[in-house]
């Protein structure tokens, strides 16, 4: 804050104008009289226009929008204003914590210098599996405590309402399953943990974060109930989402016949899901469903009779699975 005030004071001195910075939690101004009672909302509405003798500029820094109000007395120089904005941006950036800087770098393009600075600050802490935990509502602190006791992390901070973490754990899926189960048991909250992949530095971290976000998107789109989403295991969903609407409609029509739609109920849906989860292994799927293998065969036969697809055969099952996934798309 002091650094920002210093910058404002210097800019005001050089340009001989009152300058204020408004952000969502308050207003930092240099003139004693300047910007009385201008709220963040008002600054947003008035951005780019003249308001009570002030010109209001928006600018982004460390992932937040700020509004700079410069008193437009006398001759107003655009270039001078841009310089003031740059100086303020730099001051804002400097007063941020490393985690805030990292968060900002993940949101917007950053130059090599920023990248190197972050690599230097974080070093090996950026190396490991990138995780994104979401759905913890107002229990951030409790979830962080559970995380501390369940999974090893080298880095973690709140990023856009989710916890972004890097973990060096070897068996990452098992660790994430434990995390999700512990959160559920302790807080009765169903958090989702997305695993993006392994990061080796700041550029990877950003890429893996995108993978985490895509995994969460896939979960929503296909209505999946899994609480751990490993991006590397979502190839089928990723492939389906790339199909053209026409192809999707064709595949759907092949499998979802009128008879099949009429027959489809909760029991049959679970049977199909479990069969795919168990890689078409009838014995395993029957075990998970707590039914006799013959009961499973009977259900598959019913599907065959009204769709023509024999799910015991790979040739039939892969197309059926595509149709099944397309049907789940929201």
């Amino acid at each position: 804050m002091d650094e920002l005030r210093e910058v404002l004071s210097k800019a005001s001195e050089i340009s001989n104008r009152d300058i204020a910075v408004i952000w969502d939690k308050g207003c930092c101004r240099i003139s004693e009289q300047g910007i009385p009672g201008l709220s963040y909302e008002e600054a947003r509405q008035n951005s780019g226009s003249s308001w009570k003798g002030y010109i209001i500029y928006p600018f982004e820094a460390v992932g937040k929008t700020y509004y700079v109000c410069i008193r437009a007395e006398g001759c107003r120089s655009e270039a001078e204003d841009q310089l003031i904005l740059l100086a303020i941006k730099s001051a804002v950036f400097n007063r941020c914590s490393e985690d805030e800087r990292l968060a900002a770098a993940l949101k917007e393009d950053f130059d090599t210098a920023v990248g190197m600075r972050l690599e230097e600050a974080y070093g090996q802490r950026l190396c490991g599996y990138v995780l994104l935990v979401s759905g913890y509502e107002d229990c951030l602190n409790e979830v962080l405590q559970i995380m501390d006791n369940t999974i090893e992390t080298t880095l973690r901070f709140e990023y856009e309402g989710r916890i972004l973490a890097v973990s060096p754990e070897g068996n990452i899926e098992e660790a994430c399953e434990s995390l999700s189960k512990n959160i559920l048991s302790e807080l009765l909250l169903e958090c989702t943990v997305a695993i993006g992949g392994r990061s080796g530095g700041i550029q990877d971290l950003r890429r893996m974060l995108d993978c985490c976000l895509e995994a969460l998107f896939i979960r929503r789109t296909y209505g999946l109930s899994d609480t751990v989403m490993n991006y590397d295991k979502l190839y089928a969903y990723r492939a389906v989402s790339c199909l053209s609407p026409g192809t999707k409609a064709d595949i759907l029509a092949k499998v979802f016949t009128r008879e099949f739609k009429e027959m489809l109920n909760s029991e049959l849906s679970i049977t199909i899901e479990e069969l795919f989860k168990n890689n078409l292994n009838l014995t395993d799927a029957a075990g998970k469903l707590y039914i006799h293998r013959n009961t499973l065969l009977y259900r598959l036969d019913k599907i065959f009779k009204c769709t023509g697809f024999d799910l015991k055969k790979f040739e039939d099952s892969w197309l059926f699975r595509l149709a099944w996934l397309i049907n789940k798309e929201k």
């Binding site: 509502e137 229990c139 409790e142 405590q145 559970i146 006791n149 369940t150 399953e177 434990s178 995390l179 189960k181 512990n182 559920l184 048991s185 302790e186 807080l187 009765l188 909250l189 169903e190 209505g223 109920n265 909760s266 029991e267 049959l268 849906s269 679970i270 049977t271 479990e274 469903l289 707590y290 039914i291 049907n327 789940k328 929201k330």
Partner: protein, 370 residues
Amino acid sequence: MANLSLRHIKKVYPGNVTAVKDFNMEVEDKEFIVLVGPSGCGKTTTLRMIAGLEDISDGELYIGERFVNDVAPKDRDIAMVFQNYALYPHMTVYENMAFGLKLKKVPKAEIDSKVKHAAKMLEIEHLLDRKPKALSGGQRQRVALGRAIVREPKVFLMDEPLSNLDAKLRVQMRTVISKLHKQLETTFVYVTHDQTEAMTMGTRIVIMKDGDIQQVDTPQRAYDNPANLFVAGFIGSPQMNFLKGTVVLEGQRVCLKLQDGTMVGISDEKAAALKERGYISKEVYMGIRPEHLHDADIEPLSSGYSVFKGQIELAELMGAEIYLYFDLCGKQITARVDSKAAKKSGDAVELHFHWDKVHVFDAETEKAIY
């Protein structure tokens, strides 16, 4: 008070998939309710709606006097135990059980007393200093139960908590949970696919199929008087034998005539009900439990009984009992008889059964006829 009131609860998932159709029941305070049924019947969805982990599409849910449809799970005063649980690997059993209370900032002394009390109930006091990796599967499950007990919730929700244990441990843990229910005097709602668990643990059981309640009753009544063909087949192991037959009048007596001509007598009450409701000459299903078939060689009945005759296809010795499988009217029939019978494949067998053990079901609606 921790009674539960589920009033016309419905769950419809996107895509118009109905998981629970119209769940309506009152759970009394301190009851042990078991939801049982095959996979996909809606039992877990119902439990998750009670927990608040699943939105209720329609209907009203009350815990005690409180309407909780929109109350967050953590504010419902419930604890849940899952099939798949995880313990903190670096913490001792004591720390694992205490952690939830620490998160809630409960005073240390109170945590200590609650953890020790729960450990005593679960008979794991001697394990409090151990880490999870040094525990057996059953011991770990007890710790998971302990984590729920220390919260002192109004309602315990358990979702197939024993399914990951081997058969022997499951039997042991069934006893542990039943004892726990008596000691805690709290309402339990327990989900299982295993009818033996349901029968042995529940004060009442809710048998579900395709999102519908089939029957809510005490285990004994569900066994003795199943409401329909599904319940009759689901409760009991080996499952009830079913045969199609026609209701006929033999003089003044109402009987069932099976497809091979075998005549089966029925109790006076059932006969009167069939006559009164116009079932004479109509097709019905008859049901007889394997344990109600007696080997005529060693346990012959003297009065009020009918006879099945057949040739044994397979005999399975179970120790004290022997399961005999034979064919009748094109259906496989199972009999559970004393192992003294010493029967083997290929032997002829004559089995007696009391008329009052015969169940009769409507051939169309599949509902029981009393």
